[in-house]
Structures are given as C-alpha cells and as structure tokens.
C-alpha cells in the first residue's frame, strides 16, 4: 500500500515517518517511533490506555490515523516528566497515593489527568471523576487515582494536599 510522509512534534522533538493511510497513530508512536509507553487496551476508543495529548486535547490514539496527526504537536507519557527528569507532580501523585497497580492504564491516565488539570486546575472530585471517565482502570477502583490527581493538583497549585473526609 502506498505510503504517506508525515511529520509531527512528539514530546518536543520533530519526528517524521512513512505510513500507510490506514496506520493508526498509536501504531506509529509504538512501532515507528519505538515509544511503547502508550498502550492499546481495546482498539475501539473505550478504554483510554492509548490516550495522548494532541494539539492541546486528549485523544485516543487507537482511533486516530497517523496521517490525521500530520503537522500536529503530541505529548505522550514519555514527555510528561519534569525537564530535569524527575517525576512530575502527577507521576509522583500516582506513586504516593497508590494510584496504579498493573500500570497498563497509567500512561493514558496520567496524560489525560495532565490535560484535565490544565483545563481546570481546581477540579472537584466529581469533576475529576467525570474528567477521567474515558480512561478505564481494572485494578484500582479509581479511588486512589482520584486522590493522586488531587495530590498533584495541590502541588501544582502550591497548596497543601488535604484528603477529603470520608
């Protein structure tokens, strides 16, 4: 099948590649760019394991063609850490609050949560739950993911993290 040339900026670096028109963005990222942090859980846009940030929006890269992302700016889990390589507030929050177990949903969940906190840095618990409802987790039951995001929000906002009362 004829291939198309695409270029995009992924985690701040210019990348390019030849893809079939039907190549999914997630496969371009995982196979061509060899960045395997973005996972595939369903291939039908339900689970969110493949979530990346595309031009300022959370998208599920299993149902975006690589050619659709031509010329765009993308952030994956590999581009989330602080500039000095230390864990970002969200990555730290997930660890501190036990917001992950098998780790398979975690990259998509963190990438999504990062965009959510950019959109609304003072999200309530209900807003966080709604905001991550496109990302499925089979292990945690979400409660500690919500706490992880609240932890990160507090750190980003420069306030002390306070756990909500039961």
């Amino acid at each position: 099948m004829a291939k198309t040339h695409v270029t995009m900026k992924v985690n701040g670096a210019e990348v390019e590649g030849l893809v079939e028109p039907r190549t999914l963005l997630v496969h371009f990222i995982r196979e061509n760019l060899q960045m395997t942090g973005t996972h595939i859980g369903c291939e039908t846009t339900h689970c969110g394991a493949c979530t990346v940030d595309l031009d300022g929006m959370s998208v599920k890269s299993c149902t975006v063609f690589a050619v659709q992302a031509d010329g765009s700016e993308i952030t994956t889990i590999e581009g989330v850490a602080n500039a000095d390589g230390s864990l970002s507030a969200l990555q730290e929050g997930f660890r501190m609050m036990h917001g992950l177990q098998c780790g398979f949903c975690t990259p998509g969940m963190i990438v999504r949560a990062q965009r959510l906190l950019m959109e609304n840095p003072s999200s309530t618990e209900a807003e966080i739950r709604m905001g991550i409802s496109g990302n499925l987790c089979r292990c945690t039951g979400y409660q500690n993911i919500v706490r992880a995001i609240q932890y990160a929000a507090a750190k980003i906002n420069g306030v002390e993290f306070q756990e909500a009362a039961e």
Binding site: R30, I77, C102, F104, I128, G134, Y142
Partner: protein, 806 residues
C-alpha cells in the same frame, strides 16, 4: 552510645519491613511509561499472527481455502488444523483434563472459535490475509441453554467424545455431560431436610462474565532452529506451568524452552491457561524460522479466552424455627462452553466450590455439580477468586438472606446465630475442609457498629413506610455479606496441576555489600510483588527492603513455582520467602557467632543483626555478616549466603470479611445509587496496608461491575451480544462507588508469618453484598430472589413485575 546512634524505631523504620505502607518499587517505571509488556518486546524480523474466526456457534467446516490469502502482500503462511496435525498439535490438553481444538478440526463449537492462523510481516497485512481466507461452513443447530444440554434430543457437540461414557472426572451421563462431582453425606442431609421445621429452596444463577484485564492475552515466540530452543514472552500468570505444558505437548526438551513473563497488565485469572494463540505462534515460528507475535484484540479476548462463572445453583437450607441451620443441599449446573478449559487444580472439577457452607456451622451438607457442554467459549476460570469460591460465597450468602426473609429475622442476626465460633477452630466443615482460624462474630459486630447497622435498618423501615404512603419512589436496600474464602492452593496432598504439586518457591541470594536478590515462582500482574516480597525479607533478615531486588517471570532464573492466581502468592510463596530468609538467618547466626567469638546460642536476633545476650553493645549487623560470608566463614562452612525454599503448605488459608452495601433504587427508572460500601477484611498478618487497601478497592470495583451489569451474554442463536467494551459493563470513575475499608487481624496459625492472602476477598465478598442490597431493597414488595446482574433495566423490570406501577 552517642546521639548519632539510631534508635530501635529508626532501625526498624529504615528496613521498610512488614506492616509498612511502603511505596511501590514498580511505580517508578510504570508512571514513566517504561514498563515492558509483551507487546513492547520487538525482535528483528518479527512477524505477526492473527486468527480467522468462526461466525457460527456450531457448524461443520467443509473447506478452508487459503489461496487468495497467500497472495496478499506480506502474508507468509496460513496455518490450519491440517498443518497442526503434522506436528500433532491440532488439539491441546486443558488444565481440566479435557482436550481443546487449537484450530477448528472438522467443526466449530462456539462463535469466534479459532479456525486458521494467518502469519504476515505486520499486523495490518495479517488482517488483510484473514479477510481473504475462504471458509465454507455447514451450520448446525446451536445449543445455548445449559438446562437443555442433557435433553435426549440435544445436538451432540463433542463428536470427538462420542461413545465415551467416562471423562477425566468419572462417568458421563449424556453426550453433552462433562462430569458429576458430589461431596458430603446425602443420607444425613436428606434426613435433616425431612426433620426441618423451616426450609428454603432457590435457583440462584451466577451469570457468565469475563476477567478482561486491560492488557489482553499476548505472546511472542521465537524458535532458534540451530539450538533447537524456543523462547516465549507471554502474558503468563504461571510461567513455569506454561513451560512444562509446552514441553509435554510440543516434545521440546524442557531445558530448551525459555518462558519469560515480563510486566503484565492485569490478569484476574484470564492469563492462567494456555490458549490456541500461544500454540499457533510457536508453530508459526518453527515453520517460518522467524519470531512470531500474537496479540489478542479486545473482542477476541471477551469472546474466546476464558470466561468465568456461569453457575446455576439450586440451594436449599434446612433450619429450625429459631433460625439455627441444620442442613445445606446444593445442586449446580455448570456451563463450561465447548471445551472444559476450567483452570482449577486437576482433581477439582468444580474448584473449591465445596466451601459453599460458608462461615456457618452446618452439621451436614450435600453438594452435586454437573458440568455440561454448550456452544459457547471454553473456560471457567477463576476471575479474581480462588477456584469457584466466589460462586460458592454468592450462593450461600444469597441463600442465608432468603432464609432470613422466610424466618422474618434480620440477616445479620441470622448470620451471628450460625457462625462457626472461635473455639471451634480448626473447624472441620461438613463438605470436607479444615478451616484454620477465624473470629467471625467480632468482625461482623465491628462492621455493624461502624456503619450504625441498627440505625440504617430503622431508616429503611421509615423509607418503606413512606414508599407505601406514596411519599417517595425510592427504595433502600442493605446488602450484608459475610464470606469465608479458601485460598493458598495448595497442599500437595490434594492440589496439583497436571501432576505438579502446587507448592511455591523463593530463592534468596545475598551479595557481599548487604544487598540481595530474591527470585520467585510467582508472577505479579499488578499485585506489587517487587515491593511486598522485599518487605517480608527485610523483616526476616534485617536488610532494608530497598536493598532487595525481586525478580519474577523468567523460568531460566526463577525457581519452579506454580504462579500467581487464586490468592496463592502470599499464602504459599510468601511462606517460601520467610522460610528461605530464615535459612539465611540461621547461617548468618553461625557466621556472627564465629566472628563475635561466642556460641551461637549466646546470640539473639535484634532488628537488623545479632547481639550477644546480656552484652547489648556486642553486635554484628546483617550487612556485616553478608560481607563476612564472602571472606571469613567458620572453618568447614561453605562461603556465600543464599538459600532456596520450596514450600508445600500444610493447609489452605481462610481469609474472611464482613461487608455491607447501602443502596438506593429509584423504582421508576431502575437507577441505583451506592450510598455507602463498607468492607472489613481479615487477611491475617498484613504485609503492606497500602497495597491491601488498593487490592480491596480494585476487587470491590470488579465485584460492583459483575453484580450490577457485567455479563457475557449469548442470544438464542449463539451469538455473543456483549463482545466489546460498548456492551460489556466496565465501570468508569463516574460509576465506581466510594469504598470504606477496615480490618481485623486473625493470623493463620500454620503460616510462617500468619498471612492469608487478600487479593480476591473483595470480589468474593463484594458480589453478594451488592446483590443482597438489591434484593433487600425489593424484598418488602414481595420478591424473594432477583437474578444478577442488577442493571438499571433489570431493576426497572423487577419493579414492574412487583406491581409498583399503577
């Protein structure tokens, strides 16, 4: 001593041993997308395989034509049953003593069954090839309803078993019958029912569902023709078992098979068994000489690999008027689908379902399970439960509520009245188990006090009165569940898989600088073993957990173990860790005695090393002993400091818990709201409370999903109608309730550190709590039992059938 000397508390804290909420080691890589899951492994020249699958639930395969497929660019091979027959692999043994087609051999027996395996240069080309394989089918009548499986005129599904009147578990009564398994004293139980003042009988179904971990089943097989070696990376909960199975069926010497389970994206029982994809990828690698990857998609996962449950349980309880139970009788119709691919210990066709007497002192009981074939996907795996324990817990906990309703008793009071008492342990149940320990009433009362049970019942009575007065359309249910699990399979006297005893293992090797590595027979799929196993070692030998690396999943380096499922890792491998660590400490004591020039009996253990009794300043730390082990051991002693333990547990462990769900249901819409869910777990000694809480949250959420809607459903024609995440209920953060957790601690008396296992308790206890809440809500309107799953529509339908709409 000066001020810089660490206190005992500081010395203990730095170890991050048992009881510590140690942050997880794994998270450093997982939060950065640096885990290595199977699909992340790539080899030069790697090919991809994918399946042609049957659209029919039951059909004869007339022909398979691959000519056009082989013309598709990138397609290299199409493997069929005929190909597999040349290497005697068209069929494979199942863990349950049955055989299963790897690829359709003459007929297909369930929708989406594997028919042919297309091998191509990439996954897109493989998919193109699939579309060009032409399969001619002759449809046969499908058998969907398990209750019709043994009708005289039921179609024969398994022609390979025609005329066989005996299966792996005894006589077969019908051509679609797999086994009958009976336990208990039938005569005594029948007598108890004849004498009973009160009896109840109910058919309680636990519907078919699926573990559906977020990462599907996958593998990468690479056969080295020169060395004759096969390396398999796979999503394996039990890597060593896979290696042995491959050795037995593929006739490759076991030392030439390397099985590697890298990071696994959840398992929940889905990744215990062996699937056609593994066999096909291995054969494809042998045929093509290239590495071959197989990655299941979600629809394939839900519709072909390992369903769970599908137990239809007729439960009867005999009791006195005062509510003392006197007998239990249960018959189960078990739908196993097309092949009995149940992942149970080999001698247990219905797993440990005979834990169905639950937490109650039944003087007698009788159980019979009939397994049948239907035109559905094979399996019967333990989805986040020890083998069939969740089915058993659901059966007895629902039945106890039904009895309470009949007696007009409070369900909590009925349970308290019938609990096995602390002084009765070790307790021999009527169906053959020896419960190791428990204090049920204490746990139950703690739950009741924590949630103000009496207050909730009062509120419920008021709401019911208001409902009857027409002032509200909302009804309130209290779902009480008290479960006893049986986990930690298991003792070699009664547990094996394909003849291999279900021990588990740990090998610890200490390095000169006071660090070490622990290698395990288990395999984490998210349970956090790299974190918790090191905590056990830290406490046992006084080396900080941070200095202990835990390695799992490589059969070349790990000691043989039976893997992680059935909450067996802590009860079995956790014990092996403690025993191996104690061997290390015993040798360390001899080295310390030699270095301190005292008799070893004059030494006592103190947090992180030995000290001379009566001379507390004369000490030798474990760190220093590690160094000494490599340069100055006592004369005659071998240098080095390592140990291995293969632990064969003397008994199972019996975690238990008291759960309650408070639920409100709008009868006009069927919409429910979980107002409160409180879970008290007793898993014995607690290794990492943070991880335990996380396990409970996750298990409860899976229980919530199952009870409230998650179902693998077939229509009358045998089509799967819940084959994607669009139709198969997976709770999001919006639906998932808020969880409150609590605990009591009753250590296991036979386990070296007293731990019992916890990962599956919340699923086992959670499902009956949700279902009992729904049933309790509707009970005052005249219902006795409403089948799961309790989604909005079914709740609305229940309300309608109970006549609440005028």
């Amino acid at each position: 001593m000066n001020d810089m000397t660490p206190t005992r508390e500081q010395r203990t804290a730095v170890l991050e041993g048992m009881g510590c909420k140690r942050k997880r080691v794994e998270d450093i890589r997982f939060t950065q997308g640096k885990g290595t899951y199977v699909d992340d492994v790539k080899l030069p020249g790697m090919l991809h395989g994918d399946f042609v699958r049957s659209p029919h639930p039951h059909a004869r395969v007339k022909s398979i034509n691959s000519d056009e497929a082989l013309k598709v660019p990138g397609v290299l091979a199409v493997i069929t049953a005929e190909t597999l027959k040349t290497v005697n692999l068209a069929w494979m043994p199942t863990l349950a003593g049955d055989v299963q087609m790897v690829l359709a051999d003459g007929k297909v027996l369930f929708q989406n069954q594997e028919v042919a395996f297309v091998v191509a240069t990439d996954r897109y080309a493989a998919d193109d090839g699939i579309n060009k394989v032409v399969v001619e089918y002759e449809p046969l009548p499908p058998l969907v309803d398990p209750f019709k499986a043994m009708d005289a005129d039921a179609p024969m599904l398994r022609e390979d078993l025609a005329g066989k009147t005996t299966g792996a578990h005894g006589p077969r009564k019908h051509h679609n019958h797999i086994f009958e398994w009976t336990v208990g004293d039938k005569d005594l139980t029948d007598a108890a029912f004849r004498k009973a003042e009160v009896t109840i009988k109910e058919m309680i179904s636990y519907h078919r569902t699926h573990p559906s971990p977020l990462e599907t089943c996958q593998c990468l097989c690479s056969f080295d023709k020169i060395k004759g070696e096969l390396t398999i990376w796979g999503t394996f909960q039990a890597p060593h078992v896979i290696r042995t199975v491959v050795a037995l069926i593929a006739k490759i010497p076991e030392q030439k098979i390397h099985v590697i389970a890298p990071d696994i994206g959840g398992g929940f029982g889905n990744k215990v068994g062996a699937y056609p994809g593994y066999i096909c990828a291995a054969v494809a690698s042998i045929v093509t000489g290239k590495p071959v990857k197989w990655v299941e998609d979600r629809i394939e996962n839900l519709t072909s690999t390992s369903f769970a449950r599908d137990y239809h349980m007729t439960a009867e309880i005999a009791a006195t008027k005062e509510g003392k139970v006197t007998g239990l009788r249960v018959h189960v119709l078990a739908d196993h689908g097309a092949f009995d691919a149940c992942a149970d210990p080999s001698k247990w066709p219905a797993g440990f379902f005979n834990i169905v007497t639950g937490s109650y002192d039944f003087p007698t009981a009788h159980l019979a399970v009939d397994g049948v074939y239907t035109n559905k996907a094979p399996g019967g795996v333990a989805y986040r439960c020890s083998f069939r324990v969740t089915e058993a817990a659901y059966c007895i906990e629902r039945a106890m509520d039904i009895l309470a309703q009949k007696l007009g008793m409070d369900p909590a009071e009925l349970r308290l009245k019938n609990f096995i008492k602390p002084e009765q342990f070790p307790y021999h149940s009527a169906l053959g188990w020896e419960y190791d320990s428990g204090d049920y009433a204490t746990a139950m009362r703690k739950m009741m006090e924590s949630v103000d049970y009496a207050g909730l019942r009062k509120q419920q009575a008021e709401k019911r009165a208001a409902f009857k007065r027409g002032e509200t359309r909302e009804i309130m249910g209290l779902g009480v569940s008290f479960f006893t699990e049986i986990v930690g399979a298991g003792p070699s006297k009664n547990c094996d898989i394909l003849g291999i005893a279900m021990f588990d293992s740990c090998e610890i090797r200490m390095h000169p600088t006071g660090a070490g590595i622990a290698r395990m027979g288990t395999k984490s799929q998210g349970q956090g073993h790299e974190t918790t196993w090191a905590q056990i070692i830290a406490t046992e030998i006084g080396i900080p957990a941070d200095n202990i690396m835990v390695e799992e999943g490589n059969t070349d380096t790990a000691p043989y173990g039976l893997g992680t499922y059935g909450s067996r890792s802590t009860p079995v491998a956790g014990a092996a860790i403690a025993m191996a660590a104690r061997k290390i400490r015993a040798k360390a004591q001899m080295i310390a005695a030699y270095k301190l020039e005292v008799h070893e009996d004059d030494l006592e253990w103190d947090i992180d090393g030995f000290r001379v009794k009566g001379l507390p300043e004369k000490t030798m730390s474990m760190k220093d002993i590690c160094w000494a082990a490599y340069n100055s051991v006592p004369p005659g002693m071998e240098p080095g400091l390592e140990a291995v333990s293969y632990y064969d547990p003397p008994n199972m462990t019996y975690p238990f818990g008291a759960y309650i769900c408070v639920m409100d249901i709008d009868v006009d819409t069927g919409v429910y709201k979980v107002r409160r869910f409180y879970a008290l777990d007793d898993c014995g000694t607690r290794i990492n409370p943070m991880i335990i809480e996380g396990q409970v949250h996750g298990g409860l959420t899976e229980a919530f999903a199952i009870a409230m809607g998650q179902e693998i459903r077939y229509d009358d024609e045998g089509n799967v109608v819940t084959g994607s995440f669009m139709d198969f209920f997976m709770p999001t953060a919006v639906e998932a309730p808020h969880w409150e957790t609590d605990f009591t601690v009753t250590p296991s008396p036979h386990h070296p550190i007293g731990a019992k296992g916890v990962g599956e308790s919340p699923n086992v206890g959670g499902v009956p709590a949700f279902s009992n809440a729904v049933n309790d809500a509707f009970s005052f309107l005249g219902s006795t039992h409403i089948q799961m799953p309790h989604d909005f529509w079914r709740n609305w339908r229940a309300a309608k059938e109970l006549g609440v709409f005028v």
